[in-house]
């Protein structure tokens, strides 16, 4: 059947595959094979100039070994860099040993390295209190004082009251 007859042309609108088949059978231009052969002969051969030497070919093992060596070098270099920058603190040649044993007549400091400064003792600044302190220390008053303290129901004297109260620290 001639695809170009009037009947087929009019009825070929739906039969589009004729067109495709026609295109798939286009005549090959003359001399195509010769031209392709000539093109292949003049084409530069692969890798004549830029070919890797056999020993340096990327697929060979030397590249893998070089990569491994480079990784080791970087890791070791980094470690050495950190080690060389961080200096260890100088160790003390003489160790201070705190004195052991309690001081005679008082509390011990339990081997503490530092003992804070403490107030030495109460300093009475009030005049009346100072007078009472003096009377308390005389021998005559000691006896009467003791008698007064031994009586159960008696109230403590004003001077005793002063004596028992803590004095205002001088440091204030």
């Amino acid at each position: 059947m001639n695809p170009y007859s009037d009947e087929s042309v009019s009825g070929a609108m739906s039969n589009f595959e004729d067109t495709l088949r026609l295109i798939s059978h286009v005549p090959v231009p003359e001399g195509l094979v010769d031209r392709v052969h000539a093109g292949l002969k003049t084409a530069p051969r692969r890798g004549r100039i830029l070919n890797w030497p056999a020993a340096l070919r990327p697929g060979s093992n030397w590249m893998r070994a070089a990569a491994a060596a480079a990784i080791v070098f970087v890791v070791a270099g980094g470690g050495w860099g950190v080690y060389s920058r961080v200096q260890p603190p100088p160790s003390a040649k003489v160790a201070g040993v705190p004195p052991h044993g309690a001081a005679s007549g008082g509390f011990s400091n339990a081997g503490a390295m530092r003992v804070p400064q403490t107030v030495k003792g109460p300093i009475v600044t009030h005049a009346a209190a100072a007078a009472a302190m003096r009377q308390d220390t005389s021998p005559a008053n000691k006896v009467s004082g003791q008698a007064a303290q031994t009586s159960r129901h008696s109230k403590p004297l004003a001077r005793d009251k002063f004596a028992t109260q803590p004095a205002v620290p001088a440091a204030k």
Binding site: P3, M13, F16, T19, V26, V36, H37, L40
Partner: protein
């Protein structure tokens, strides 16, 4: 002077590869040209594509022995080349021009009027094909080559055979719809 054994074997291998390549050119250049022409629809572009395909084969001639089906392998190479060229060119094929199509397509024993009418019809069919989705269009083009089975088309396009069938079915339906629509407008 003694010639090294490696040099002799290299030369023999190279000679064998060149002979195999020459045989491929003689056997498949025409097929590759037609495949390239079906996409590019331009004789000189199609010939360039064939040349480029064989240059690629020359570059990878070491792997020629591993190729299972030379024909499918070569068509796949030229198919990728022409699709790439078409994508880059983004121009309308030369043969969409009716007079150019009449010149290129075979028309032996026809009157001038018949040739013009046929060329007009073919140009219309090809313009309808351009409206198809790319996947369907590619399968439809390759199916026109009678020597290619659906398995081989699947291998060229790197899809499954069932995908080839379904795309071909869709492509035919769309084409029929497009052609009927244009006929009803006339």
């Amino acid at each position: 002077m003694e010639i090294p054994e490696n040099a002799v074997s290299d030369q023999a291998r190279q000679h064998a590869e060149e002979e195999a390549l020459a045989a491929l050119v003689s056997q498949y250049a025409g097929t590759l040209y037609r495949v390239a022409f079906s996409v590019l629809r331009n004789p000189s572009d199609a010939e360039d594509a064939v040349q480029e395909a064989f240059l690629r084969v020359l570059r990878h001639r070491d792997t020629l022995g591993e190729v299972r089906d030379n024909r499918v392998w070569l068509i796949r190479i030229v198919w990728n080349i022409v699709l790439d060229r078409k994508r880059r060119a983004k121009t309308r094929p030369e043969t969409d021009d009716v007079s150019e199509l009449a010149r290129v397509l075979p028309a032996a024993g026809l009157s001038a009027e018949q040739i013009a009418s046929a060329a007009q019809h073919h140009a219309h069919v090809l313009s309808c094909m351009e409206q198809l989705p790319a996947k369907e269009r590619e399968v439809l083009m390759l199916s026109a080559f009678e020597e290619l089975s659906s398995v081989e088309i699947a291998s060229i396009l790197d899809i499954t055979e069932s995908s080839v069938r379904s795309r071909l079915f869709r492509a035919r339906n769309i084409m029929a719809g497009l052609l009927n629509h244009s006929r009803s407008l006339r």
